[in-house]
Point group: C2
Chain length 245, copies 2
């Protein structure tokens, strides 16, 4: 992985439905792309079940290791939505229905003539001292506690929360990348690529094999923070493997 | 998460390209479904970069916690394919080009008139004592060391390896599930569902909100190992929320 001075991050996906294979997670892929764009290096991702002990331990571990931790899932109104309480426990904070979150939800439900029942009230449970993250889709907010940012699992809500949150965080230099397509199998590319990679220690050179119409090919992705250096490496690569086109 | 006596598992996805957002992982979702089918409970998933220290530490930790660990990625011919060496290091095993793996690859490349070069030879590096996992797609094998099963990241190869490997492992009772569709928002369903869930401690009841044509709805999934018990809970749920259809 390219070494940078950028802030680091982990993402924690919470939910039995991902581990049972019922639901295919979309949030990790979305956030990975957004973090690269703003210059925060995603170093690790984890998926854990709706299990209190495991969520608390994982949040503590990731929070101590990385600049930011982003969580997805478990902040809805049902009995298995335990993320907010687990975050409070992880940081030793008091948690209850908080006035600011309740006010947001009250206005939302009253405006629509919908009963603000006890289950919906659960979504106003926010740890003391947490900063709310706006939810323009369905109002029930996410929140940040220290370096942990707690968001909903439903993909369109998660994406809206990420869009509101990221400008608040300080990113580093964005990671740049260039791709090069070679119509040869990865095993024919590996040796020259390895030599090129050791010539450019500040860049990372990934190689991604594929098959198309029965023929093997390889995409090379060169990543780094210095665009001129990437360009120089790309020219050397193109000289080694001239395009067939 | 439903508690069972089934074997447990973790999946470890290895590769910078997933964390940078370049590639959307498909293997976690595929394996999660296959494990549920054969009665192995997936308890955790992780994604780590192509980083030796992190791979070694994570393999050791997951191997000690779960019945099985499945890895994906990092066993190709290029300089950043370091998984096989990391697994050897994690278990303190010697690793080199092994005769059985080399023989497979030699036959494959000679049969196609392709040079068996040094990079391709890397794919025959297998830790001492490991059992090979067949690769019917591109021959270069995966392998199992103790309870860790090391497979390729390319999805069609990963899936073929999983298909060959799983019948060798002893599964438990498959997890059964039934779904029920309710045309009401999750927050209207949460309280009765919570009460029903506490009546059936051996089942898990997941609730998955969605919007369709601007209306909120909720899918309930009841999971467990006893089909009759799931059926009984489903009937109670249906009585609480009669279908509009």
């Amino acid at each position: 992985m390219t070494r940078t001075d950028n802030p680091t991050a982990a993402i924690l996906i919470i939910g039995d439905e991902i581990l049972s294979g019922r639901t295919r997670d979309a949030n990790m892929y979305h956030l990975a792309g957004e973090l690269t764009r703003v210059g925060i290096d995603l170093k690790e991702a984890r998926v854990v079940p709706d299990d209190r002990e495991m969520i608390v331990a994982t949040v503590r571990e990731l929070s101590s290791k990385y600049t930011h931790v982003f969580t997805s899932g478990g902040i809805g109104p049902t009995h298995d939505d335990i993320t907010a309480d687990c975050i409070a426990e992880a940081f030793g904070l008091h948690i209850d229905i908080r006035d600011d979150a309740r006010a947001l939800l009250t206005a939302h439900y009253e405006g629509r003539g919908v009963e603000f029942n006890e289950a919906r009230m659960r979504m106003a449970r926010i740890p003391d001292g947490a900063t709310l993250i706006e939810n323009p889709v369905s109002i029930a907010p996410g929140f940040s506690v220290e370096n942990v940012h707690v968001m909903a699992g439903v993909p369109n809500i998660f994406e809206a929360m990420v869009a509101g949150l990221l400008p608040r965080l300080t990113g580093g230099k964005p990671l740049l990348s260039q791709s090069y397509h070679i119509d040869r199998p990865e095993s024919a590319v590996a040796e020259p690529l390895g030599a090129l990679a050791s010539k450019y220690p500040d860049l990372s050179m990934g190689s991604y094999p594929f098959t198309r119409n029965g023929a093997f090919g390889t995409n090379i992705v060169i990543r780094g923070q210095d665009g001129a250096e990437i360009e120089a490496a790309l020219l050397e690569l193109a000289a080694l493997f001239p395009s067939d086109a």
